[in-house]
């Protein structure tokens, strides 16, 4: 089920990137794709059962428990995503100042 949601979200993100004319919406779409990938990674390591903590209930490595590594990876990926988002937002502020709009059709003086 979670796989379906993350694929749907990625689809929404890619659709947004392809169809929207507002640059800010591109950034939002990128964030949605990021979220979809993160969700997918979490879902990959998730098992119904125990938290990834070694307690006396989980002594055996072959037992069912949540894989902690994807969660660590997602934490890193989220931090990177925030960095990209912040840089994108700051570039958007400068684009708005220079070209007086964020809409691709109304931007002035854009040199391709």
């Amino acid at each position: 089920m979670i796989y379906v949601i993350s694929i749907l979200l990625a689809g929404i993100g890619i659709y947004g990137l392809l169809t929207q004319k507002n640059l800010f919406k591109h950034l939002v779409s990128l964030t949605i794709i990021d979220t979809a990938v993160n969700l997918f990674i979490i879902a990959l390591g998730y098992r119904e059962g125990d938290a990834p903590i070694y307690t006396d209930r989980v002594m055996n490595f072959s037992l069912n428990f949540v894989d902690p590594l994807p969660q660590a990876l997602v934490l890193t990926a989220i931090v990177i995503g925030v960095g990209v988002l912040a840089l994108g937002a700051s570039l958007l502020v400068r684009i708005k100042e220079k070209h007086s709009s964020l809409d691709l059709e109304e931007m002035k003086g854009v040199k391709e």
Binding site: L30, L73, T76, G83, V84, L91, I95, K98, H99
Partner: protein, 466 residues
């Protein structure tokens, strides 16, 4: 020792935020330090690793230095050393991002861990976008950021698929366990897309002309050092880790990249953007050779890449200086004879005229393709060369012989003149003595394809810890 290549630039970048006046000197010192560290390891021959925090592979993250990553690190650090000694105006205010870029590119080249390489690729994207935004080139930098972000997502997805299939993120471990069936297909496809943006492969290279054409510093860094790192990673992943699987898609994509890149370069009317498109096409040539997957082909791919990187460094250095010094470029080389000669030599090497390094690599690539009964690649390469002749001659004629408008002659900074001429001479030397590079690229290609000694080297290495 090798972790210093990553750690020192990161630390210096942090320091430079608080000590802005010294950031230029700091950048030069860091680049010089890195070059010395790399040179002290001169073609190690064996696999040397640095296990972070003393976690033995396959646990933890390890940096790997073998012949292949040594050669890539050498090129990257030498380019950054040259960039760091360019005049201050060229890179004023961007020293911090350039230092971060140096650290990230080194990390990307050296890392032996897939997730770690994803992190370094994202740092490369972020710092490259910052550099690309120089001279108010915000819109094109933004486009690069969006494309780089999507590529990062695909790269992460590929990494996690590889983890799901093998239970490891360590490249050596994955190479040992091996992927198969549909997971191999998914992983290689996703990596092709993920690396495609930095390696400038066909549908993902829309950002290149805007970013390279926007200011003078981003093409000389991104078009040389970062391209080399990305194309090295392509060889490392597909050669060492995936044992040459999934290369057919790459082959087709790179042939399309060559043709579209050259056509776009021919139609382009602005100097920096023309050679940005040409850089796309040359990346396609290298990727096509990498996708053949044999040792000889890889050797020639990186030989050609080295020649192209040198030629592009000269071209972008000269072009970047001229574009931002003069309003009208017609006949500008009559004022700057030395720059003009270097530029012409570099462009002729790009086309592959005899007497220049490009000839040696192009003729060898064509012979290699014929010897493996591949006639498509030579055909594409020759068509591309014909187109190249068109725009190279056109630009040379325009810059040398067109009627010049009167403009005050601006002074050429010493380093720009020196580097462009010295590298142009190097291109002639390589034509006369191709072994200068071929010996190195030969070792590099051998190390890239020798999965067994890579795996053994990583697992048997005892060195580690800080």
């Amino acid at each position: 020792m090798i972790s210093l290549l990553v750690a020192v630039p990161l630390l210096a970048a942090f320091v430079s935020l608080f000590w802005k006046k010294a950031s230029d000197v700091l950048f030069s010192l860091v680049a010089l330090f890195n070059v010395i560290v790399v040179l002290s390891k001169w073609f190690p021959g064996v696999v040397e690793i640095h296990a972070m925090g003393n976690w033995k592979p396959p646990f933890g993250i390890n940096l790997v230095l073998d012949d292949a990553s040594f050669y890539a690190a050498l090129i990257v650090n030498l380019i950054f050393l040259m960039v760091s000694s360019l005049p201050v105006e060229t890179k004023k205010g961007y020293e911090t991002s350039l230092m971060l870029l140096l650290g990230a590119t080194n990390g990307f080249v050296l890392t032996g861990d897939l997730f770690n390489s994803f992190v370094f690729m994202e740092i490369i994207t972020i710092t490259a976008v910052t550099t690309a935004a120089k001279r108010e080139n915000f819109y094109n930098a933004y486009k690069y950021l969006i494309l780089g972000g999507i590529a990062g997502s695909f790269y992460l997805l590929a990494t996690i698929f590889a983890y799901g299939a093998t239970g490891s993120l360590n490249m050596a471990h994955i190479a040992m366990v091996g992927l198969s069936g549909s997971s191999l297909l998914a992983v290689t496809m996703l990596y092709t897309i993920g690396l495609g943006v930095e390696a400038k492969l066909f549908p993902l290279n829309g950002w290149v002309p805007g970013v390279y054409g926007g200011n003078e510093v981003s093409p000389i860094v991104l078009g040389t050092a970062v391209s080399f790192a990305a194309l090295y990673m392509l060889g490392r992943l597909f050669g060492t880790v995936f044992h040459g699987s999934g290369l057919n898609t790459l082959y087709v994509l790179s042939l399309v990249t060559i043709l579209t890149g050259e056509m776009a370069a021919l139609r382009e009317s602005r100097l920096l953007r023309t050679f940005a498109y040409s850089s796309v096409a040359q990346a396609g040539v290298v990727a096509a050779m990498i996708s053949k997957g044999t040792e000889n082909a890889l050797n020639l791919a990186y030989f050609h890449l080295t020649n192209d990187v040198i030629a592009k460094f000269v071209i972008f250095l000269v072009a970047g200086f001229l574009v931002y010094s003069y309003r009208d470029l017609n006949g500008v080389f009559r004022k700057h004879k030395l720059l003009g000669i270097s530029f012409s030599m570099a462009t002729f090497s790009l086309v592959g005229f005899p007497m220049f390094a490009g000839f040696q690599s192009k003729i060898r690539m064509i012979m290699e393709a014929f010897s493996t009964k591949d006639f498509l690649f030579p055909a594409v390469l020759l068509i591309a060369t014909a187109i190249e002749v068109g725009y190279v001659i056109r630009w040379n004629v325009r810059l040398w012989f067109e009627e010049e408008t009167f403009e005050e002659r601006s002074k050429v900074p010493l380093t720009i003149g020196f580097f462009s001429f010295a590298l142009a001479i190097l291109l002639v030397v390589v034509f006369l003595q191709p072994d200068v590079f071929l010996e190195g690229t030969q070792k590099m290609a051998k190390a890239l394809l020798d999965t067994e000694s890579y795996v053994n080297g990583v697992f048997s290495a005892v060195k580690g810890g800080m």
